[in-house]
Amino acid sequence: MRRGRLLGIYTIVYLVFLFAPIALLPIFAFNDAAIIAFPLAGFSTRWFERLWTTPALHQALQNSLFIATVTAVLATLLGTCAARAASMARFPGKRAALGFIMLPIALPEIVIAVALLIVIRQVFDLPLTNWSVIAAHTLICVPFSIAILNGAFAALDPSLEEAAMDLGESRWSAFRLVTLPLVMPGIVSSLLICFIISMDDFVLAQFLTGANPTLPVYIYSLTRFVDSLPLIMALGTILVTLSLTLLVIAEWFRRRGAARAGLKTSGGLL
């Protein structure tokens, strides 16, 4: 009994520690003062209005959306191929190959960033553009995509595709008609998660971004100006809401996929 209560208190303290700073975001985003401090000065939406009228922010948002969309598509495409090979194909060196593909999850982002910077600038002498960020984001997103899609592919009976071929379909149309619909929820889930990861990333973008920064890089540049802090709070509020929404949608798709294949849900991100 006592122990149960202590654990309960611990859980509450833990959650407060985790989420209280984020809860501050909307509070000060709607606060009618340039200084981040209590007591609150009254309700205002002027920081959101100022966001609306900052062209540099719009450019940064546009960059981030472009990068995140392309990254999500590329990473999911590569992830789908790898996850399919992992579950259905047999070839020598399979375990090692998959291990290396999953490795970027464990590598420090800053190491990847510096390494890519050297390769792009010193080795190939290419300019830094949105595409260099896309390359880096794809690299770190593919393992997440594989992790999500592995579940979807592993649950598939390998004879389903063979059955479709046996019934007259070519290899590709068997994949399109049978495998693809069955793993589609996983694919949607992967697209959304990769999109979020790319949108949120700061380290890689800071190193590899070209003349136009991404949203997180732009936000970081704003922190140098004290009077921009409420602006960041407003922007942060929007981003958190967006991320949570996408995450919930992604998880919903993943569970629906599992239910379709007649499985109990396990694992996943939520």
């Binding site: 389903l160 063979e162 059955a163 046996d166 019934l167 007259g168 290899r171 049978v178 379709r260 294949a261």
Partner: protein
Amino acid sequence: MTALIELKGIHKHYGDYHALRGIDLEIRKGEFFSLLGPSGCGKTTLLRTIAGFEAPSQGTLRIDGRDMQGVPANLRPTNMVFQSYAIFPHLSVAQNVAFGLRRDPRPREQKARAVADALEMVGLGGYGGRAAHALSGGQRQRVALARALILQPKVLLLDEPLSALDKKMRETMQVELIKLQRNVGITFILVTHDQEEALIMSDRIAVMFEGEIAQMADPETLYRRPNSRRVASFIGKMNFLEGRVDEAGERILVDVAGLGRGEVSPEQAPAGATPGPTTFGVRPETLSIVYPGEEPQGRVAPGIVDEVVYYGDMTYYDVRIEGVAEPLTISMKNLMGRPVLDVGTPVGVIWDEKSLVVLSR
């Protein structure tokens, strides 16, 4: 009758593993043919080779006179019922059955009728609208059958289709499959490890061990005249006795250790007979016991009951006979008035030289 399927010298290697070692086989049109063997004997590989999922490393395969080399599974006149049934879980029962009709140019209503007919044929009339993942094992199998048969293939391949069902369901489906095959007249090739199932269902059976066909025959020949000790022990229960062939000329004279001398016909030596030490086989139901008070008819060897296993309709006795290495298993019908004998009872064992099989070593 002409051969619908011809396999000549089929070999299959997976790296160092030699899965099929020279398979020669002809399967006739309209035949119910079974590939029987323990797991790992190559029977499924052979089936998948016919279906087009495996390419043979060597040898030729013809279906209906056409060489199948380089012909992919989707262009072969074969359809398969998979061990897992491979029902598409995201489609309804009707959509599953109609899957193979995608390229069929017939109008929609005709195809819908064909689907309904196919479901009717397998006893699932009215199930078309159901979700496939909500079906029971037996229903899945019927859907898999309807889905394959709707394309009217020349050959239907069945990969252990009954192994996932419980005993009762399996027995029902065995009978239904036989009826279905007779109705549609399509050649069925069944892969199974269950000898009883193969005996019940097949016109002919090929028994496979280690990538080779050990014997190919109709069920009765296979049961009564197995050509080797291995086939004999895989199919049904068989007693093995040591002895020798004394003469293998016009007459085949044998001497069975513990039982005595006799003469056998050439049919009783499916693998041939050569003078010298030999193993003989004899089925439990071809031996019988002289009950106390009964007059023995035929040749009798004295023995002692060593073990009794009561099955209700039958009793299996193991009887030890002097000079015979292992006790002989004898099955006796529990007819009225016949007591179940106790262990240790001295009995006479009636045997007949006509029920002996000379087995190759």
